[in-house]
Amino acid sequence: MRLRGAAPIALWLLLLAAAALFAARARYIADMSAFLPAHPTADQQLLVDQLREGPASRVILIAVEGADAPMRARLSKALAQQLRGDGEFLSVENGAAVSRRHDRQFLFRHRYLLSAAVTPQRFTAEGLHAAIETTIDALTSPAGLWLKSLLPRDPTGEMLQLVEQLERGTAPRSADGVWVSAADERALLVAETRAAGSDTDAQQHALAAIRRAFRRAVRATSAPAQAAAGNGAHLRVSGPGVFAVAARAKIERAALRLSILGGALVITLLLAVYRSLPAVLLGLVPVVTGALTGVAAVALIFGEVQGVTLGFGITLIGEAVDYSIYFFIQSGDAAAGGAQERWRRLFWPTVRLGALTSICGFASLLPSGFPGLAQLGVYSISGLAAAAWTTRFVLPRLLPARLPLRNVAPLGEALRARLPRAGLSRGLGAAIMIGSLLVLWLHHGRLWNRDLAALSPISAADRNFDAALRADLGAADVGDIVVAGGGDLQAALRGAERAGATLSRLAGAGVIGGFDSPAVYMPSLATQAARRSSLPDTVSLAANLRRATAGLPLRAARLAPFLHDIAAARKAPALTPADLAGTSMALGLDELMLQSRGKWYALLPLHPPLVAGRVAAINIDRVRRALGGGAVALDIKAQADALYAGYMRNAQRASAVGFGAIALLLCIALRSPARAARVLAPLVLAVLAVTAALELAGLRLTILHLVGMLLIVAVGSNYALFFDRHGAAVDGSAASTIGSLAIANAATVIGFGLLSLSKVPVLQDLGMTVAPGAFLALIFSALLARRSAIDA
């Protein structure tokens, strides 16, 4: 007997230890991948890869603010120098002249491989004549004066061609030798991390390195007397990785703070009710077991835990604590020998059915194609199962010999006395139902929020700051993009060159404003070979030059350096990406190439066209038609919106299936569809009333509201079932049952009420739905319960 009694305890301890271990070792992430599909289409896959691992995800935008402009410039240079020595960063750009000089040298050395103007025609007598004439004309402009010293080596102006070729959109503004914002209130840097943007731990590490480097830069640029106080300059960072780190920290902080606060409030409530510390502590046992098991199960199954899931942890306080409340209160003096046995016989089946109902509801999330939803499902199911199991098998064995609890029957009596008459209740219920349906019908077109940003814990201010930095840096917005794939780097580059030829035509026709291409920085080997073979041998070139320069003020005799450079270029080896190291073109190439699952992708972001001086939208269908089958044109924003819409549909469908499963379960368990309907009616009513109230408050529903509705049904089903089964209890325990429900409800409302105060949208949405919903579910359950049951 004693051994049989000890087995569940041992099992429980083992479970707790294992769960704690897994939860502690789990990897917590908070990027948007929770809302990206697990089994995407090919187009979606590109988008997901781009968002998770792509070069854009690795960019950290750095701004130095405060102090004065020369100090900011000095700090920018010192910071860049520090970070370039740090292995965590692939590149650090701040527009300093060093990299510009380096770039110019590189471009000049390889101009005949890089210039798109290099064709056989260009080196005929006619071609040379035209090219040299253009270059000489450019010399007359003060802006072209720098070409003068290059003229003997580069009479065809390939360097001018390259500068125009490489100019992407508007270059950032420079002051004091570094990039600055348009209004010159901050110095700007762009760092690219080695780690992917979805690796939140690595991003956090990189951010810490930037802050450290900045402090060192401040010390290095300040006089010793000032160094301690700093010089008034401060650092601001932005970018996908920064957002992910901030979001994770914010959710973790909120979840921790709210869990502690909610826990404290619930403990206070239970202390007031039980008047027994041991009972309160024992009551938390199922909660803690459930929460740990939930996190561990998610970590085990998914390999990583989403921040959203973690934030969800608090919801278990709401439901799991109910189990122990029912156990303690409904079994009366729980320690008394017969009481436990009676609870197990009379009430446990109801609690079990309630738990099964909840599990049924959450199971519908499991097959969801989105990790975020599936994690919520796994977390809730394992957490609730563990909490219910602990309540049933472990809690009774942990009870001390005597555990006197306050009798809550008077509370139940008092509540029961205040319930209105049955007829009135039904009328009220019908009125609420009709009113809610009316509101929802009036709002049906704009019930749901279709903007992914609604879920982001990043504040609008931070998003605006990010947008401002991007505008200052002239970074192309993630808008429309053409993707050319291939089995290897060269195939992708050739694809980019083919797509580029089409896009140049479209730019000429004004369909697009322009485009970036990795092939500009790194032409394919085939193109390089073609350009090299365009260069004539010295004898023919000299002959062509003599004819070409007739009538020009530049004599062929002065162009010996040109002949020499062409001869050298004919023998020069082809360029590879490694040759770009140390230039800012390396960053350009890296940003526009993506390697994923054994394939290479060249990304060609499109610039919107200017129509009558204003930025217009790109007609992506025209681009698609022009490209044919060679490359894919993606509208990133539309794709992301489509993804989220799919996510919503998925969740809505899952919720509907979950509700159906719950209804079926109740029909079977209660052996009567009519009874099942009576149990479900107050829950449906609560969901409708809350949804209508949210709509009336001007809020638009997100996916978390939907999950909240599922929770209302899950939590509320306990209330409805208790009213259905025990409202008519023979031994007069109905009053204490109602009392226990009221207290359980108070605990739930406290937990979720706190969530609704959170500034993290996902937690807030959840709290705002469940707190009033759970309360209404209890009220409606009481109102709609068979009158005879309550009055008995």
Partner: protein
Amino acid sequence: MRQRLAFAALAWLALCGAAADGDLQRVMHLLGAQRHRQARFVERQYLAVLDRPLESRGELLYDAPDRLEQRTLQPRRESMIVAGERLIVDHGGRRRVLDLRAYPQIAPFIDSLRDTLAGNRPALAHAFAITFRGDVRRWTLLLTPKSAALARAVSQIRIDGAGGDLLRVEIRQTDGDHSSMRIENGGAP
């Protein structure tokens, strides 16, 4: 006697200096009084690498205090606008906006012209050693760069004028190349 002669010579020299300084001041005043200017120009550039000078023509537009536009019509159309610290180049349907401070080798050229047009003598004296010749009716300013960075590219800028009008701007580069811009005042071409 010798002493008195020496004294007279000194006094005369001092007087001349004062007169020249007064003329420079008056010229600066006349220059600054013109808030808007429009003129045609013909520029010839003499580059050692070329057999004959390059000629370009177009018009100059000036709005006080710091907007200067050089609109080249031949041999190729190009517009270069300096406004505040920004240099805007329009050419072949493309517009490039550059930061003047990022080009320490161009900025002083432009500043010399802008400061002269604005009659801003302190700013001019900050960057250049100024020599004034002639009188208000017909004058010449010789500007020699003070900063080593500019002196590496430009040895001297010579501006000829009459009253409040500019007639010619010559820039002599250290490598021997030089340019001469003739300015024809009197309305649009």
